[in-house]
Symmetry: C2
DNA sequence: TGAGATATGTCAACAAGGCTGACTTAAAAA
DNA sequence: TTTTTAAGTCAGCCTTGTTGACATATCTCA
């Protein structure tokens, strides 16, 4: 009885497994990997008196010059009060600048300064080293494979938005 | 001149790229993916008056019954004061229990209660659903491939430790 | 056995980075 | 002209991390 119709049985298992057997290994690896991934920049940020919140803002403004406050809030999913606290510091220390919108003068368009760009790049390179070295022998398809997986981890509703943001950042 | 020795040129590029061209796509995808990954449990944790810090503690105690405080601190890399705050709440609300060590009576061995195990499992399954569905057609090698990649993202010094923790959690 | 090391617990104070709610101002849109 | 929208600000709160100091029980080693 237990070894009857093995093909069907393993097919059912393949489906049930989604709900029945937790993927503890991936859950934990994701936790540890992300921790090391974000901790790389910490040392450098410290030297400037910045934290991870500043890093996130600097990163996205560097990547998308002219970003508005509303767009940035949408990306970070924090409140404007939280954003304002770190953004104010980035502006005061001259890493980011805020210009009045041209089409809509209520908007503030955000740009990194030269100094801001240098820091953003430095931090991105640091994270890139880890990310690329981990690809190891997965090349040449590895990168597409990993980015595809990460994209599918994102909520389906946001996936298109993120995809545009990540892969189409150069466009207008 | 530009199209001379293309093989060598692309080989050099392949190496230089590690330091020169930031992998913005992977950096950002990792950020968004991790955010959605950890946000799944939030709603449920809220119902119990717990946060992410409680989740992490509950998870690792569930996975490794009999864990000591020192071992848990080593996994989470937080101070004992921070740990104690959330651990105390988990114990008070009867999700975790602390027993005196047998070999060394200074130690406290941590165990989840039935209630604690149920919650840990519920949260793990929630995260497993996302993680496994994202594997999609990467099967059957997908899981090993992703876990290999995540493992290589971890600091080389900790890699063995994490590997034992993640893959050898059933053993004594 | 006694001294020192170790595992844990606790108190107090502080910081980063989230949050809510209320209110203002300037500019755009209806 | 009225209403809506984009942004800024004030005040206060929460969670989760930190440091520093100190207490207690237990183990280990000379």
């Amino acid at each position: 009885m237990p070894d009857a119709i093995p093909a069907v049985r393993s097919q059912r298992l393949g489906k049930d497994i989604l709900d029945e057997v937790p993927a503890y290994d991936l859950i934990e690896l994701f936790f540890f990997a992300y921790r090391d991934f974000v901790s790389d920049p910490d040392r450098i940020l410290d030297e400037y008196g910045f934290g991870r919140a500043h890093h996130r803002v600097l990163h996205f403004v560097d990547r998308q010059p002219g970003l508005t406050i509303a767009e940035l809030l949408d990306i970070l999913r924090i409140t404007k009060q939280s954003l304002n606290r770190v953004l104010k510091e980035l502006i005061e220390k001259d890493f980011v600048e805020s210009r009045m919108g041209t089409a809509d003068r209520r908007q503030r368009l955000l740009y990194v300064t030269a100094q801001g760009h240098d820091l953003a790049l430095k931090l991105a390179k640091l994270q890139t080293r880890r990310i690329m070295q981990a690809l190891a022998d997965l090349e040449p398809e590895g990168k597409a494979l990993i980015s595809g997986y990460l994209l599918r981890l994102i909520d389906p509703d946001d996936r298109d938005h993120v995809e545009r943001l990540v892969f189409g950042a150069g466009e207008t």
